[in-house]
Symmetry: C2
Subunit: 342 residues, 2 copies
Amino acid sequence: MRQVTIYDIAKEAKVSVATVSRVLNDTAPVKGATRARIEELIQKYNFQPNAMARSLLKKETGIIGVIVPDLTNPFFPEVFAGAEQEAQQEGHTFLLSNSIGDYTKESEYLSILREKRVDGIIFMGGRINLKQCEDHLVQELVQHASVIPTVLVNGGLRNTDLIRVATDEAAGTALAVRHLIGLGHKQIGFIGGESHMTTTSIKLRAFRKTLKDEGLEIREEWLLPDSFSIESGKRQMLKMLDMKERPTAVFCVNDYTAIGAIKAVAEAGLAVPDDMSIVGFDDIPLAHHFIPELTTVSQQAHELGRMAVKVLKTMMNKEKVKKLTTLDPQLIVRQSTGAPRP
Amino acid sequence: MRQVTIYDIAKEAKVSVATVSRVLNDTAPVKGATRARIEELIQKYNFQPNAMARSLLKKETGIIGVIVPDLTNPFFPEVFAGAEQEAQQEGHTFLLSNSIGDYTKESEYLSILREKRVDGIIFMGGRINLKQCEDHLVQELVQHASVIPTVLVNGGLRNTDLIRVATDEAAGTALAVRHLIGLGHKQIGFIGGESHMTTTSIKLRAFRKTLKDEGLEIREEWLLPDSFSIESGKRQMLKMLDMKERPTAVFCVNDYTAIGAIKAVAEAGLAVPDDMSIVGFDDIPLAHHFIPELTTVSQQAHELGRMAVKVLKTMMNKEKVKKLTTLDPQLIVRQSTGAPRP
DNA sequence: GGGTTTCATGAAAGCCTTTACATATAATTC
DNA sequence: GAATTATATGTAAAGGCTTTCATGAAACCC
């Protein structure tokens, strides 16, 4: 059975479609009696205007496209929730896709978003070093961005000037590393992160810089990027524990890898933080429920999401926006870090 | 600057729009030279057909609407990922919303989905006992479902015969409780879950039944529903630890509450599982990385998502589907359960 | 009471595709 | 070579809504 249209309503109410449209959108005065008659019919048939027809005309869909690398990492749902909250008022809705770091998928999805004429795009977590990626995805993204307002969340792409909202990850990294140094650590390792991701390279660079600034030695063999999963944290910590000389503390690119690292230490019969201090990044909800509670750097995920939408909204209104909006990270000291054994 | 349309392409290629449409959709033969000319222009202008115009005509959008109660609970992203994987081939895309258990929001969102003419709806986690909810949301959902293929994931709604895909949560609960009993526990508590949610009432009922079947006493004061958060697990376990007579094991409605419960036990200076055995539900990725590793019941979240989409697809093809597709839960014994102290 | 506003409504165009039908051309048949 | 069939393309309607412009009726002014 066909869905009822504005025509059906108009016909039965013995008015023109224009009038029905007017009561639907409250866009011009309609006489009380007429309005009542129409509203009743709308009720009766449970009529809902076809958003596509409307969008076709108005050139706006009320949809924001979101691309996240991995929804399975609790950081992203948190950002998403923030975005959703901010978008709520305007009645915006989200088309969500998990790219799982697959750049073909990202690219395809970007196409779909464009076909669907979304009002804006939020793109989280950018790649950087992969050559094929640079050539392709970036170009594509930039091209799309020229048509659809786009904001990059955490992770710039080289040689582009896309609008960005980001935590100052370098500052956050420095915060964490300085915290370790402050506790007396002199031998500090780095774990996790795919090396072609922007977030990893930013953190790694900041890590090196902080160590250098503080006059500490950088041991290349203690720099162990991998991926963002718990498993990778575990794997790399295991590797580290196997070394004959090992650090007394590690910085992990995110909380998931930190948890993995802690797990590895625990399984080896060692103690966190006594034998190994571990600091994470993100402050996912679990961080302060893990045992031991995780020292970490908060990115204010929720706020990040809100801000992304806020920026997007001003772009959609064709107002001017800053190229980069930065959120300040915060060090949250809990139980997974402490002074090294003397 | 206006987006380029099929007209612009047709004009510049000196053909009719029909021909352009034909090369776009490969729906009828087009002469090589013409096709080449058109394709070149498409390339040149980076033309992308307007999905709305198309959908308006074809009456399908390629969009599946998803409503989850809380994306922040790792179980749901997992289900979502499964759904996404299954939907991939057909190029379906997801409009996602977090309802946060707010039934007004669910209801509004349902409306939006309908306006947007999504091809199908996946609704996760149903309410049950709330009176206002019954009266309203359910009615609405049923009404929508008569127009748009809808599948309920884990959680029926009373008095409806909506199509469902669900883990056999009762069986899962029994599995877990029997496991505890098998270890020698005779005093078993129940923690977590909002009592008006279907999932809670199913589990609670199965919990009672299993205890009864095994000839154990049901102590009402050890039945502590609350919510699904880590905090609620912690809170209720704290309460339990304060009782002068307390159980030796608890069943938690999900892994998040189980983690909270473990945390509470640990902070009280007691040991899991020696002083308290704890079993969770869901088997979120973290379950086997938590310390101690969590004994839990796997719902095969990923599979659940896939199945939901699979069922939805057959509904969209207007084929017949079973009213209820059940997935079998699996008990996964890890470290958080053990024999009670003698 | 004639002229000017205001209010309520209708007619029709436009948004961008797809597709049924029609037409023109080319290829095939006997 | 006339008749048939296949191939390539065009014309125009349809899909469901919003909105501009026009019109008729009612209210106001002096």
